[in-house]
């Protein structure tokens, strides 16, 4: 009897070892697949023997030529545009989202349920639909083409109240009795927000700033609409997209790689540093629906 037990024990251990090995193999293969494009893009950005697409990964001649070419192109301007947009949007959007979500989480006013349902329905309309008119309105205001940056900021920030959901979910988890205790202690509603809730909301504030900051780096559609072919008003996504159109790709492919590296590095580093908060926000948001 002892022997069979021993055998079972061995079997258990062996099967666990096998399944772990399989998992390691899968994870290693996945890591290779996930990293491959990024390794390629970095290596290709240092390739100087040709500027078009090639069928090998390791450059034959290495050099900084692509980065130098970037420096001499409009890329600087695009980068600055995007950075300014991202910074301003991160600040303003965070304020608006926090106002919205805190209010909907804590106040019980007459229109609250109706307002939330209304915004849910609004969200079912594809945002792209409104681009045409927003473009025309911005054009009338003189905020397109070379002036696209303030125009984009205005549009991004103005509609950001719709994205209250994740942070409202977070505020809902803070006990209401904290608000009540503070109000009994003599705080006004505004003081409750600034002295009690905001200090406790650090994770969600960081999450909101992070997502608001990352958003403009990737926006492509509306930014292209608003800049409308004027290089001075483009963000990196619009400018670099043009480099990969069929008539440009053979001259600009490696420059695109270099630009991609320059764009990705700061954003990725910021993201990796604040990953913890991002994960909290994302999982909280999904659980809350």
């Amino acid at each position: 009897m002892n022997e069979t037990l021993e055998k079972r024990h061995m079997g258990l251990r062996a099967s666990r070892a096998i399944s772990n090995t399989i998992i390691y193999v899968i994870l290693i293969v996945m890591s290779v697949i996930w990293l491959f494009p990024f390794v390629c893009i970095v290596l290709q950005s240092f390739r100087v023997e040709s500027t078009w697409q090639v069928g090998y990964v390791i450059p034959q001649k290495w050099g900084w030529d692509n980065y130098v070419a970037l420096w001499n192109s409009d890329f600087k301007r695009w980068y600055l545009n995007t950075f300014v947009i991202a910074l301003v949007v991160a600040a303003l959007q965070t304020v608006i989202v926090l106002c919205m979500s805190y209010t909907l989480s804590r106040f019980r006013f007459k229109m609250r349920a109706g307002l939330m349902r209304f915004m849910l329905i609004l969200g079912m309309f594809p945002g792209m639909l409104t681009m045409i008119i927003l473009y025309r309105v911005l054009k009338d205001l003189g905020l397109t083409q070379a002036n696209a940056v303030p125009g984009l900021i205005l549009v991004y920030v103005a509609s950001s109240g719709m994205g209250y959901y994740v942070s409202k979910g977070f505020f809902d988890t803070l006990p209401k009795s904290l608000d009540e205790a503070a109000r009994v202690d003599g705080a006004t509603r505004a003081q409750v927000l600034t002295k009690i809730i905001l200090p406790l909301a650090k994770p969600i504030v960081i999450y909101t700033i992070l997502t608001a900051f990352m958003g403009p780096w990737g926006d492509f559609v509306f930014a292209r609409y608003v800049s409308f072919g004027t290089s001075a008003g483009m963000n990196v996504a619009v400018g670099m997209w043009n480099w990969l159109t069929p008539d440009m790709i053979n001259q600009r492919y490696t420059m695109f790689c270099a630009g991609g590296v320059i764009v990705a590095i700061p954003v990725a580093i910021l993201f990796m540093c604040l990953q913890k908060y991002y994960v909290e926000g994302v999982t909280g948001g999904a659980v809350k629906g």
């Binding site: 772990n20 998992i23 899968i26 996945m30 890591s31 996930w34 494009p37 390629c40 078009w52 697409q53 090639v54 069928g55 090998y56 608006i96 106002c99 209010t103 006013f109 915004m119 609004l122 079912m124 594809p126 945002g127 792209m128 639909l129 409104t130 045409i132 008119i133 927003l134 025309r136 309105v137 103005a158 509609s159 950001s160 109240g161 719709m162 006004t188 509603r189 505004a190 927000l193 990352m214 990737g218 492509f220 670099m240 997209w241 990969l244 790709i249 695109f256 764009v263 990705a264 954003v267 990725a268 993201f271 990953q275 991002y278 994960v279 994302v282 999982t283 999904a286 659980v287 629906g289």
Partner: protein, 514 residues
């Protein structure tokens, strides 16, 4: 259908239980839909009409019982409040009234009068005596008429609401005076804005932004679907545009004479959009969960390292990663280059397809690349939820004799589905509108020859949303068709959400983990 009691149900065999549940699921759909429409009907009849009726009645009653101060407020807004000492509020009402009247007289009236036709005089040639030649003279501007007409309607509604509010407050002020209670002063009002009325302060700016930059454009674009606004009828430079009724919907859904290009394309694009949304959502969901479970498994090391590698696709802006991947798989891209070098293939594979007969490959490719983009996100979510599943559920199931697979199907999966049900819905609708992945990867290609003559040359991987975009940027710029598509997307999403919200909870009760 026969209804079983709980005890009867328990006696059914496994397959009988399954079919009973299936049948009750489908029989509950019509009821849910009916309930929804009854709800809407009740909302319209009772809530809206009821409210309007009682508001009107109250307006008359207030006038009847009002003193001269209250009655005066009917004409001069804020009079009753100013006369009773609530100067700040009263002045604000008065100011609003003055601004409104001034606006209506100067411009608002013009926009409203033109709204019915969207302009009478278009651009035309006129003899110019000074130049002694015919020159183009521009007339009305349909676009502005529609835009400012909508704005003016918003303004009028706001005015009516404010007028009503003014009467209500005059009435309250009068009652307070009669009962000898103290009215709130302007200072009290201001103080309340950081205390019990703080929500008004907080919401003012966000809601104003949403109203102007979301609600108004949507209303405008819905109206555009009923006009002939396009590149050649731009409303000012080329020609005016005007109302055409339901014609555009007829073209899209082909009740205006069958066999047109739009309806054929619409059917295909909608089908692919739904297929795409389904696969994009569920492949990511299950694979992401699977990856999360692998990484979280006891005994697997470098958990943080694996996660960090995967999360790279979230950290790097999509336009870089997607554009780059799209080029990697191009005919002369790096993947084909490597495969050729290694001798695995002797001809470059056309991953993104260029002709109709290999349309399946690009469709599979976008789903596969979407997995690459989407798994990390789902992995993060699944990790968070998996760690929240109470460990004693697993312990007790192990004592009950469940193996790993049974634990997954009986505990992990139901728990995940229950918690993430609403998330799946938003993820599905989000994927229906997933512009970035499609546009950056394929741009909609390969072009569908059957439907290509429809504006914007639709392709096999085009979603409704990318089609919409193509139409607005295409040669004809048929904005009215774009907005028809937008409205139809809304309808599809609304219907799906409605069914899921109404039907799911009833069958989810049994999996209640709360």
């Amino acid at each position: 259908m026969k209804k079983y009691s709980d005890l009867e149900f328990l006696r059914l065999s496994k397959s009988e239980k399954f079919f009973y549940k299936l049948a009750s699921f489908f029989t509950s759909i019509p009821r849910a839909v009916a309930r929804f429409f009854v709800g809407i009907w009740n909302f319209i009849v009772k809530k809206i009409f009821g409210t309007i009726a009682s508001e009107i009645a109250d307006v008359f009653l207030t006038f009847k019982n009002g003193d001269w101060k209250t009655r005066g407020s009917y004409l001069v807004m804020g009079l009753g409040l100013i006369a009773r000492g609530q100067v700040l509020r009263g002045l604000l009402f008065l100011l609003f009234e003055i601004v409104f009247i001034f606006y209506m007289i100067t411009t608002g009236g013009y926009w409203m009068s033109m709204l019915g036709t969207l302009g009478r005089v278009g651009p035309h040639e006129e003899y110019n005596e000074i130049l002694d030649a015919y020159t183009t003279v521009y007339g009305d501007n349909s676009f502005k008429i529609l835009l400012y007409g909508v704005l003016t309607i918003f303004f009028i509604v706001a005015f009516i609401y404010t007028w009503r509010l003014n009467i209500k407050q005059s009435k309250i002020a009068q009652e307070y005076e009669e009962h000898g209670r103290k009215l709130k002063s302007g200072r009290d009002d201001l103080r309340a804005l950081v205390d019990e009325q703080f929500y008004k302060t907080l919401l003012a700016l966000p809601l104003l932004g949403i109203l102007i930059f979301t609600v108004m454009p949507i209303v405008f674009m819905i109206l555009v679907a009923f006009t002939n606004y396009d590149g050649t009828h731009d409303g000012f430079n080329n020609a005016l545009f005007t109302w055409v009724g339901w014609k555009n919907f007829g073209t899209m859904l082909s009740w205006e004479g069958g066999g047109n290009v739009y309806s054929a394309a619409f059917g295909e694009v909608l089908t692919w959009t739904l297929i795409w949304a389904f696969f994009a959502t569920f492949t990511n969901y299950f694979l992401g969960m699977f990856v999360a479970m692998m990484i979280n498994k006891k005994g697997i090391r470098f958990k943080k390292g694996w996660r960090t590698i995967l999360v790279l696709t979230i950290a790097i802006p999509q336009f870089i990663s997607l554009l780059y991947v799209s080029k990697m798989f191009a005919k002369n891209g790096i993947i084909n280059g490597l495969l050729l070098n290694w001798g695995w293939i002797d001809q470059a594979i056309d991953f993104w397809g260029s002709t109709a007969h290999n349309a399946l490959l690009p469709r599979i490719m976008v789903i596969v690349v979407n997995i690459w983009i989407g798994i990390p996100y789902l992995m993060l979510i699944a990790t968070g939820i998996l760690m929240n599943i109470p460990a004693d559920l697993y312990e007790s199931s192990r004592i009950d004799g469940a193996n790993a697979w049974q634990q997954y199907t009986k505990i992990t999966l139901p728990y995940m589905l229950f918690i993430t049900g609403p998330y799946l819905l938003t993820s599905f609708t989000g994927n229906m509108n997933n512009f970035n992945v499609i546009y950056l990867l394929t741009g909609g290609a390969p072009v569908n020859p059957a439907a290509s003559s429809a504006a914007g040359s639709v392709g096999y991987t085009d979603l409704l949303i990318t089609w919409l975009f193509k139409i607005t940027t295409g040669a004809g710029a048929q904005y009215y068709m774009a907005s028809v598509i937008g409205i139809l997307v809304f309808v599809v999403i609304a219907v799906i959400s409605l069914i899921v919200y109404n039907v799911l909870p009833s069958i989810k009760n049994e999996e209640d983990f709360q």
